[in-house]
């Protein structure tokens, strides 16, 4: 009997007022697999992530988790399933410190009193395991640099040992070294049997870690490709719409697509 995929989306649609953001989107993520999600701006990538993470539930469509239909109506629902998310805008509290942000919504407490010592210990331990350097875990997040905040957001998603990790442009403000470090972490997580959905514009990153690429275009599926056997040109033309129809054609800008 074949193993059930971790997550399957069927016919997912979402509308914001007059804009149809997602139309009948299908997506499948298997355990131990990195799926890249690509698409031009406003293709619906972040909207799809928010559908899966429960921040912006779909209007229509079915979500199956390990073969059975589930309802993800709130962020808590996704957390219970073991879905962790790094949002594009990070979504962290600038006034709380690193420890506070990491454990927000899942604080460790004893008899209703926060166990700061235990939370700080686990934070340090996690940062150590991920080989991440943060000068002080007790400073407000607002005082950290953009790259450090990104790193904290990524660290938070690893805190609960996720079954499925959603990463929305996680390398946006990372340096070269940090980016390769993140790609290593993604591979580690995959080898441990988790699923990863990675949104990125960077073909190099995707070639490095992804197994398959799912392309969205104007809120619709526009092909799923095997990274190892598909030419980059084919993926790019699918993103820009050249492979879809002539009317939707936009000039490819290879210098932007391949940084």
């Amino acid at each position: 009997m074949p193993v059930q995929p971790l997550l399957v989306l069927r016919g997912v649609s979402k509308r914001f007022a007059a804009v149809q953001a997602l139309v009948d989107v299908e997506l499948e993520i298997r355990a131990g697999e990195v799926v890249a999600l690509m698409g031009d701006n406003a293709a619906g990538k972040s909207t799809l992530v928010k559908v899966i993470s429960g921040v912006g539930p779909a209007d229509r469509g079915v979500i199956e988790w390990q073969g059975s239909a589930v309802q993800i109506k709130r962020p808590q629902d996704a957390q219970v399933l073991g879905i962790a998310t790094v949002y594009q805008d990070l979504a962290m509290c600038g006034n709380l410190d690193v420890v506070g942000n990491l454990f927000l919504g899942r604080e460790i407490h004893r008899l209703g009193i926060l166990d700061e010592v235990e939370m700080e210990r686990r934070t340090r331990e996690l940062l150590h395991t991920l080989s991440i350097r943060i000068p002080d875990v007790r400073v407000p997040l607002a005082t950290l640099s953009g790259g450090q905040r990104q790193v904290v957001a990524i660290t938070r998603s690893f805190l609960s040992a996720p079954r499925l990790l959603l990463l929305d442009e996680p390398t946006a403000s990372l340096g070269i070294e940090q980016t390769s470090q993140l790609l290593d972490l993604i591979e580690q997580l995959r080898d441990q049997g988790a699923g990863v959905l990675l949104i990125s514009h960077n073909m190099g990153d995707i070639k490095a870690v992804a197994d398959r690429v799912a392309v969205l275009r104007l809120g619709r599926n526009n092909g799923v490709f095997d990274v190892n056997t598909t030419a980059q040109e084919q993926i790019i033309s699918s993103i820009t719409g050249a492979a879809d129809n002539a009317a939707g054609h936009r000039p490819t800008r290879p210098e932007e697509a391949w940084p």
Binding site: S53, V55, R74, P75, Q76, Q79, T85, Y87, L90, A91, M92, C93, G94, N95, L96, G100, L104, G105, R106, E107, H109, G112, I113, L114, E116, V117, E118, E120, R121, R124, V139, P140, A142, T143, L144, S145, G146, R149
Partner: protein
């Protein structure tokens, strides 16, 4: 054994800093680390309670130099009871400001609580304890209603509580009837709230000692746990220095107040509420969620915080504390009158929270700022009264202090924003 590594790393950074035997260098290293931390906090505009403490010191020095009676035990004793009503309300306001909102109804709710109590107890002859419970619950219910319209319907808190200000003031006037005030009988529960003093030396000095010991115990306990978990902890000398400071403040307060009538019950209750709400805010998951809402509502929501529930509960708490404060105000006046609903109580409570150092922009502040702020405001009022200055001047000065506090707050916020090296 990870702490050894931490220490070893610290020793790399500053040669000899990790070695205890090399005392002078070790303390030089500590001092340097401390200076760095202070400079960072200055840079980020996070000065904690320093500005309000300075303001309080200046206020006291100025008025004492103008009138010898200002810092007399008698005046300070009166002051310590006068602050309680407004202070209680300000604690609730701190919570509302922390989630980045405002509650304009607290003055009216304070008046309503006094009127409900008086109407039930004096006019209808209900037992006092029951009347108190109902009065406080009226505040809680009104706060929950504000919270519901704000959190569930999405009406701005400013407008909801403005409507509340008018409506609850109207209900208060209706309950007070044509005479517009109801007098309480002396020596009953509510009047004793502000007229009971503890003067037995053993009891009050014992209380100060107990408080100091509790602080020392908690500090040591925390240090031991952090040490056991292999994390940096406060040095013993710092713990003792802080404890000494707590002891000085506690014993000085008890000594001064003991020389007049004793430790007021009202002040004890107020301090109890502040300590409890401070622990609640800093040490419970709920308090963490309140702070998170002030730091970013969307971030809190995505982290799984039930935003609507926290918002409603904060307004419920604000209404409850407003009602409690209202009972203290009524107790001080031994009557339920229109005074609390007049607007000054509301303005003073919000001003106290802000002057004490809680940010108007949300996410930054402490319930201790309610104490500091209300002390500053009431000290100005008391000093002016001693000097025989008209209330008109007093309003202008309090207004100036409030403006200064808000300017500080705004500059601190800007510093914090530019402090992020993004």
């Amino acid at each position: 054994m990870r702490w050894r590594e931490t220490r070893a790393r610290a020793a790399d950074a500053a040669p000899g800093a990790g070695r205890r035997r090399d005392g002078r260098r070790w303390y030089a290293g500590r001092l340097r680390a401390y200076a760095v931390a202070v400079r960072r906090r200055l840079h980020e505009g996070d000065l904690g309670p320093v500005p309000p403490l300075l303001a309080l010191a200046v206020t006291w020095i100025v008025f004492q130099s103008l009138n010898d009676n200002f810092l007399s035990p008698r005046n300070l004793s009166v002051l310590s009871v006068d602050i309680v009503g407004t202070g209680m309300i300000a604690v609730g306001i701190v919570f509302v400001l922390l989630i980045g909102e405002i509650d304009l109804s607290v003055g009216s709710l304070a008046g309503l609580a006094g009127a409900v109590f008086a109407a039930l107890n004096v006019n209808l002859g209900m037992p006092e304890w029951l009347a108190v419970i109902i009065a406080v619950n009226c505040g809680a219910a009104a706060g929950a209603i504000h919270g519901f319209f704000f959190a569930k319907i999405g009406v701005p808190s400013f407008v909801v509580t403005l409507a509340g200000l008018l409506a609850w003031n109207g209900l208060m006037l209706y309950l007070l009837g044509p005479e517009s005030s109801i007098n309480f009988s002396e020596d009953e529960l509510v009047t004793t709230l502000t007229s009971r003093y503890f003067s037995a030396a053993v009891a009050i000095y014992g209380l100060a000692a107990l408080g100091t010991a509790a602080y020392l115990f908690v500090s040591y306990h925390d240090r031991r746990r952090r040490g056991a978990a292999g994390m940096p902890y406060r040095p013993v000398r710092e713990i003792w220095a802080r404890t000494a400071l707590v002891a000085v403040v506690a014993f000085a307060t008890v000594y001064v107040l003991g020389r007049f009538e004793g430790l007021p019950l009202a002040l004890l209750i107020f301090l109890g509420v502040i300590i409890a709400s401070d622990l609640f805010l800093r040490r419970t998951p709920y308090g963490r969620q309140v702070l998170a809402l002030g730091g970013g509502v969307e971030a809190a929501r995505r982290a799984g915080v039930d935003v609507a529930r926290v918002r409603i509960s904060v307004f419920l708490g604000s209404g409850t504390l407003a009602a409690v404060g209202g009972l203290f105000v009524a107790s001080r006046l031994t009557s339920a009158t229109q005074v609390p609903g007049s607007g000054m109580l509301l303005i003073n409570a919000i001003a106290a929270a802000v002057i004490g150092g809680t940010s108007l922009f949300g996410g930054r502040g402490s319930t201790w700022s309610a104490l500091l702020g209300v002390l500053i405001i009431q000290s100005i009022a008391s000093g002016m009264a001693l000097l025989g200055v008209e209330p008109a001047v007093q309003f202008m000065i309090t207004g100036g202090v409030l403006l200064t506090a808000v300017v500080f707050d705004t500059l601190a916020r800007r510093a914090a924003e530019s402090g992020g090296r993004s």
